[in-house]
């Protein structure tokens, strides 16, 4: 898995593998903080990385394993 877009904040970092994203919109819907959105190509993009609380719902819901929440130690 190649992290193509990595955003860092004090709580968690999101590894998004754009190549595997099929743009189903599930992660965007489940995110309680509105961190994610779909870009012009219909792929997931991290809009507000500073808002992420690291709940991991997007990772659990993504059917394509394109998103991973890595909690900072």
């Amino acid at each position: 898995m190649t992290p193509l877009q990595t955003e860092h904040n004090p709580k968690a970092s999101l590894d998004v593998n754009i190549k595997w994203c099929k743009g189903c919109n599930l992660c965007v819907t489940v995110c309680p903080k509105g961190v994610l959105s779909l870009d012009d190509l219909g792929k997931v993009s991290v809009d507000k990385p500073e808002e992420c609380i690291g709940c991991g719902l997007c990772e659990e819901t993504c059917p394509d394993y394109a998103i991973r929440v890595v909690k900072d130690a």
Partner: protein
């Protein structure tokens, strides 16, 4: 390095061929997380699958896997378990595969109570062939071969398995990730036949014909239709029309088939 679910997958096979938003990927993730929690070695796990969208799952997992003929995953799995009772055998089937083409195999695997863990991906239709109705299509829902709505009653696979003698029966949805993982872990630890129905969604063939065009609509439908069995037992909720219970639905103790067979072998040798 934190746990990465894709370490359980054959990397060269990803991304998988399932449609955007398909629930099979979510169920497969929960299965991989359950395998991580069970902490089995790769040599002792065998995954057997039948035919259908869901049964492609076996090809993605990096274990000893068998992709068998339509409906016959359970006979193959029975043979594998019988030949080497020490193996942990998981069976992945779709709803049509398990309830229609392999229906008889399912009830007899339940009756024998052989130590297998069957995970049934219930997407309510035959997805791969274009959305024909299956025995699990709910009444009045549309499918390509039921354009005016399904007029047959659907199976309740969990009650069927319970009546046939399965010792561990549970149901969860793709919305209830943690519950599904827990059920798979407990089902694998159960000594006997465990059936876990994973209600998944097919937005392409089922959702679009039933006013749930997006994956989001389908997951919302699962959230609204699934009622936790614990809440029903405590009297805090009741089942409305179109709703179904999720959670651990049935559990009992019964002699396990391979253990009983080895007992018979021992008795025969003593004579």
């Amino acid at each position: 390095m934190p746990f990465n679910v894709t370490s359980y997958f054959r990397q060269e096979m990803l991304p998988h061929i399932w449609c955007p938003g398909c629930g099979n990927g979510i169920v497969l993730r929960d299965f991989a997380v359950a395998l991580e929690k069970l902490n089995y070695s790769r040599q002792e796990v065998v995954i057997v699958s039948g035919i259908g969208c869901s049964s492609r799952a076996a090809g993605y997992l990096d274990f000893d896997t068998v992709h068998t003929t339509h409906g016959r995953a359970l006979p193959f799995a029975t043979g594998i378990k019988f030949a080497n009772p020490g193996l942990k055998v998981f069976v992945i089937m779709g709803d049509g595969d398990a309830s229609s083409i392999g229906g008889n195999h399912l009830i007899h695997a339940c009756r024998r109570n052989i130590d297998l863990t069957a995970i049934i991906f219930n997407n309510h239709i035959y997805g791969m062939t274009g959305g024909q109705f299956s025995p699990m299509t709910p009444r009045d829902k549309k499918a390509t071969t039921a354009p005016y709505g399904m007029i047959e009653q659907s199976f309740d696979l969990c009650r069927l398995a319970e009546a046939a003698g399965a010792t561990y029966v549970g149901r969860a949805t793709t919305y209830h990730n943690q519950l599904l993982t827990r059920l798979i872990v407990e089902g694998a630890n159960n000594r006997g036949f465990s059936l876990i129905e994973a209600v998944t969604h097919c937005p392409t063939s089922y959702g679009r014909r039933n006013k749930m065009a997006t994956p989001t609509d389908m997951v919302r439908w699962q959230k609204e239709s699934a009622v936790l069995i614990d809440r029903i037992k405590e009297g805090r909720a009741s089942l409305q029309e179109g709703q179904f219970p999720v959670g651990l639905l049935h559990q009992h103790d019964a002699p396990e088939f391979t253990a009983e067979y080895l007992e018979v072998v021992k008795r025969a040798r003593e004579k």
